[in-house]
Symmetry: C2
Subunit: 700 residues, 2 copies
């Protein structure tokens, strides 16, 4: 009898040890199952409305110096929890965000190292899953070096995917839309030239990765709370349709230096059968820590213009003179011959300040104000900028006075040229200079090869640096808009002074050959998951040759699509990027940009299909105003706009800025019609949209 | 006739183009000849008193991205000059230094790149040669990346050499004495274990490299003014006895990032038929720029004791508790269990302050005062120290007050653990903390693997960092003593607040197994060329087991040899490294350390043979006091001490601290005799020296 009982107990405990653990989302649509497979390999699986989203997929981390966290595990504890809380972001698409999940925490122990354990924490929301590895404080685990993370996402089919080539240094690629099985064949053409790029696999892709299954499931994979860890890309096994995490190496090939207690970032899978749910998902933010900032009164959304597009188009220059190379502190700029095309002059900046003041803009960005632009690019120059020494024709104090007198801010510009040690050496001085001269926001840039050489834009070293710059900026009450930096992973919840990033092909590429007409119908499903983008739209003069006859590029949208972007490309930082003189020619269309809000009480996805079209409505924060934006790809269409988010029983005046009948992004981009109509919550509007076109509506 | 003239002119100009250019030293003993060899390859050659020192040797720099500077040159200009000036160092072995040289400046042009030229500048002193490459400002030369420098030193024979294995990260090897032809066979045994090391060749050696030819020429090769360039090691072609420069690579294998106008460091060859001339040579300093510091009153030589040897021997610990790992700002030290062996406690430091005050010492070094020592070593930990947060048992303010009340300084300690970005991030805060708390000198350290990973201690990146820390320290009027940093190259002329480096095996290695008995008979010929060493002598208790029974090491010198080191190992920073309680037991011998000066009007080499013995006398700065130190290797000897540097016609009292009759560094190290005698300028003293022994004399 004893022997039988023993066997039974062993069997039961064995069962328990291997027993699958499950949780569901609050609405029960999603089921997450964790279990150990043969050899004690941790796996998970995710279904949505009974369809497999992620098939049984392995988890694990391979290390260089201690026993890897890959197998030989047993489950020594499980814990479940529920959390439901509303929180208020400092800025955003919604006034209030609900953070509601069911959690499963598994503790896994490996016999091979006495008393060594890890935890994997799963949080299941109505809109998707987040999970991360945790390495708690314990006697037998301290330092370890990651060789590779092996988190798999086994997909249920050869999904349609919207992907960027996997790269350790840039995201400035056009999104490729294809089935996963086609990634390999399309990779070569997808890897267009960039000043600094490092692909890693013929089937490597970046996150956020957007996919759509044949049976209509929208699936987005990304990460949340990327702190002190290497950025995750994905490597596709295109035989089996399994994506696997691929971390960014450092200069010597290692992928992460860890000290317990610590954790990985969250790996996120957002899923829905409605495309709009992907756009509305706050899962990535919800997985980030609440902010500890006590005073956030200095963090405010910004609508701005800038001395920038005139340089991007080639009409003027960042550089002051034509020297081939300069040495800061040695080159006496006042003795050099100015090139006569410098953009950031006191007089020119004043014009922008006047324009901003006249039109209700908060700020003027000025690039090319400081010594060093003559040879900043492509030279891997260490001491490239000092961030405080202006050119002879840029009067810091006078412009501070002038801007302040008009209640306009100037946005500082810190192009680092990838020379990160140099930036950190100057950072306090540079921030102090900003405070002393009335600047409260900075656009930073990391164009080119990273110095220290061998490091990558997306490695742990730079992930650490970007956050260092942001947290130090907060000490000075400075807002940060970091270009060419890591794509956001919801950190703005914890650090709300991070008001923007680039980390994708922005409007500047319209001047570098053009973006695809469907570009901005994709970005909200990819790049904008995790944080806003400083896309800098608002180009009315779409033929760049009007500014610079040598530049044959043209913006691949109509004029009114540019207006729509202020609604469809959510950002607390919005630029009217074109030149003031152009806006003055189209004052009636420009009115929309003047009116549109940059901060919102709520957002509504009216129509959405990644790669095809978007129609979004938003309610301005604290106002009875709504704004609608609708865009299409290269195909004309008719949008169906509902207004059921308007308070019932009231009538509002809508101003509609739409493509003209014969508008076309290439042939007739500037054809538009502005009309007014009365709308109420029952109105349904059918609106024609031109190829590469869009429309914008303001409702008051 | 015309044709003939033309041919003649061409012939002459051709001759001129290839014609050797020569200069001599002011005393005509040295001749430097520059010429172009076939293919326009620049070469030089050096003779001393008609003996070849450097046979015809090639010069050149190979680049990665522009045409290399290797061949195809013609001489387009030569210029000669003479310079003769005395200058006064802030501290040193002499009050005044004469800088007297003849200079040859050749301008070399390569046809392959239009109008591109370089210069090579040769300076010939009575004690040797210095030369460097210069890249003047010009249209067709801006940025270039060095792949390797190919400066050769073709030697005239299989010289005896005193060498360290070539390494990009450490110099903490015992010097090997062998013929150059034996380097290859002895390399393996020479590369003893070090926490961070990177050898590069089976015949690679470091500089300063000391050699002695079979016909009695002493030759030393080093570099001067290493600024913003990669450190030079030497790779030996042991078939042909040619040494060639071997620069230190960065993380991606490149060896230097240059922007014209710029120059290489000076390559130096000190030569004499008198060993003492090597020790007296100021050539390396003379090649450095004069200081621009206006106020140097805050820079003063320092005699100090320290809470250090008790940790090196294992008697106490740097760490406060026994945790395996800590996280700064997270670990609450006040809640942890102290290990009871912490060295840097308020009470213990006060004992050292009392001892320093009682015995006329300027300062007390304290290591292990700050949070982070529990896991600082060998973990490649990024945020390892913050340089401002003391342990719970170290009261910063109280010790500041106490030290100041006794007119004693505390020397700050900044161990960086090789985590250089972390150090730079904290540098201003750390220096401000020093100023606020009465510290005016810091010992910094770079133990372990450099972070950013892939960089080396001796690469351009770190060379730049060390100088950054020194120049920033000067802004705060702080003196720097940098350990594990680059060996000095005379920069203390320009930056006199650099009062010390380690960059060799110091006294601590006596506790890590022992230094060779001839170690300090070599170091002045090698390590001390270019700058002083913080050797930290003065160990009276030579058996380490007396402090820590588990440590069987012993100091490989007699007690009085330790006294002699205060004279033979010149340094403006001198530590009495042993424990106060030990000095109190040997108060009579300790008197010499109390008396000996640390700054000098003049120095005299009485006897010198590298690797065998040294007898040096020095006159204290501004005083009628002289000090003599004499040391030997493992062989006993009789030193012959002259006193002809004493003013004539006066008699002085000399106190002689010498080995006892039966003294021996291993068997009887603490046997010594102190006696007095009268001396004058005509006295010649014969003094016996024990194996591994030495003696010291104070003359007043």
């Amino acid at each position: 009898m004893r022997k039988f009982l023993l066997i039974a107990l062993l069997w039961v405990s064995g069962l328990l040890a291997a027993k699958a653990q499950s949780i569901t989302s609050p609405d029960n649509n999603l089921i997450l199952t964790f279990s150990l497979k043969d050899g004690g390999v941790p796996t998970y699986q995710l279904t949505y409305k009974k369809k497999e989203v992620i098939k049984t997929s392995k988890l694990g981390i391979e290390t260089k110096d201690v026993l890897s966290f890959m197998d030989g595990f047993t489950i020594t504890n499980t814990a479940k929890a529920t959390f439901d809380e509303n929180w208020t972001p400092v800025w955003g698409e919604q006034k209030t965000i609900r953070n509601h999940y069911n959690e499963l925490l598994v503790t896994l122990t490996q016999k091979a190292v006495k008393d060594r354990f890890i935890r994997i924490r799963f949080r299941l929301f109505n809109d998707g899953l987040g999970f991360r590895y945790e390495f708690p404080s314990q006697p037998n685990l301290n330092y370890f070096v990651i060789k590779e993370e092996h988190t798999q996402f086994a997909l249920a089919g050869d999904h349609k995917a919207f992907w960027l080539p996997g790269d350790f240094d840039t995201q400035e690629y056009s999104t490729v839309t294809s089935n996963l099985s086609e990634v390999r064949g399309k990779m070569k053409a997808a890897v267009t030239a960039n000043v600094n790029q490092t692909t890693f696999s013929p089937t490597g892709v970046q996150t956020p990765l957007m996919m759509k299954s044949k049976d209509g499931l929208y699936i987005n994979i990304h990460e949340a709370a990327l702190v002190d860890y290497s950025c995750m890309s994905l490597n596709l096994d295109d035989k089996n349709m399994v994506l696997e995490s691929f971390l960014t190496p450092d200069a010597i090939g290692d992928k992460g230096y860890m000290q317990a207690p610590t954790q990985s970032p969250w790996r996120t899978v957002i899923v829905s059968d409605k495309a709009g749910d992907i756009l509305l998902s706050k899962l990535v933010y919800n997985l980030n820590e609440p902010t500890k900032f006590k005073d956030v009164s200095w963090i405010k959304p910004v609508k701005y213009v800038g001395v920038w597009w005139e340089m991007i188009t080639g009409k003027s220059t960042w550089a002051y003179n034509n020297l081939e190379s300069v040495q800061l502190g040695v080159t006496d700029y006042s003795k050099t011959q100015p090139n006569g095309k410098h953009g950031a002059t006191t007089a020119n900046v004043k014009k922008y300040i006047d324009f901003a003041a006249k039109n209700g803009f908060d700020a003027v960005l000025v690039e090319g104000w400081n010594e060093g632009w003559e040879d900043w690019f492509g030279k891997t120059k260490d001491y490239v900028f000092d961030f405080v020494t202006p050119y002879p024709d840029f009067d810091v104090k006078e412009l501070h006075r002038y801007a302040a007198s008009k209640n306009v801010k100037i946005i500082m510009h810190h192009e680092t040229s990838g020379s990160v040690r140099n930036y950190e050496r100057h950072l306090d001085t540079a921030y102090k200079f900003m405070v002393a001269n009335g600047y409260n926001a900075v656009k930073s840039g990391y164009v080119g090869q990273i110095i220290p050489r061998g490091e990558h834009h997306y490695g742990q070293w730079l992930v650490n640096h970007y956050l260092y710059a942001i947290t130090k900026a907060a000490d000075y009450k400075i807002m940060v808009n970091a270009h060419e930096a890591i794509r956001p992973t919801g950190l703005a919840r914890t650090y709300p002074n991070l008001i923007g990033n680039e980390a994708a092909r922005g409007t500047e590429y319209e001047s570098f050959g053009g973006n695809n007409p469907d570009h901005t119908t994709i970005l909200p499903f990819t790049r904008l998951v995790g944080g806003p983008m400083d896309y800098t739209p608002g180009i009315f003069q779409t033929k760049i040759s009007a500014y610079n006859p040598e530049n044959k590029s043209f913006v691949h949208t109509t004029l009114t699509k540019q207006l729509a972007l202020y609604v469809t490309m959510y950002s607390p930082l919005q630029m009217a990027a074109d030149l003031p003189e152009t806006y003055e020619k189209f004052a009636d269309a420009f009115q929309f940009i003047k009116d549109v809000a940059v901060d919102w009480d709520d957002s509504y996805i009216i129509e959405a299909e990644p790669g095809d079209y978007l129609t979004i409505a938003r309610k301005a924060k604290g106002k009875n105003e709504w704004y609608v934006g609708s865009i299409t790809d290269e195909n004309a269409r008719t949008a169906t706009v509902k207004f059921d988010y308007l308070p019932k029983g009231k009538t509002y005046e809508a101003i509609i800025y739409a493509d003209g009948k014969d508008a076309d992004y290439e042939k007739n981009p500037q054809s538009y019609i502005i009309r007014k109509m009365k709308v109420n919550s029952k109105t349904v509007l059918k609106q024609a949209v031109a190829p590469g076109g869009g429309f914008a509506i303001s409702i008051k």
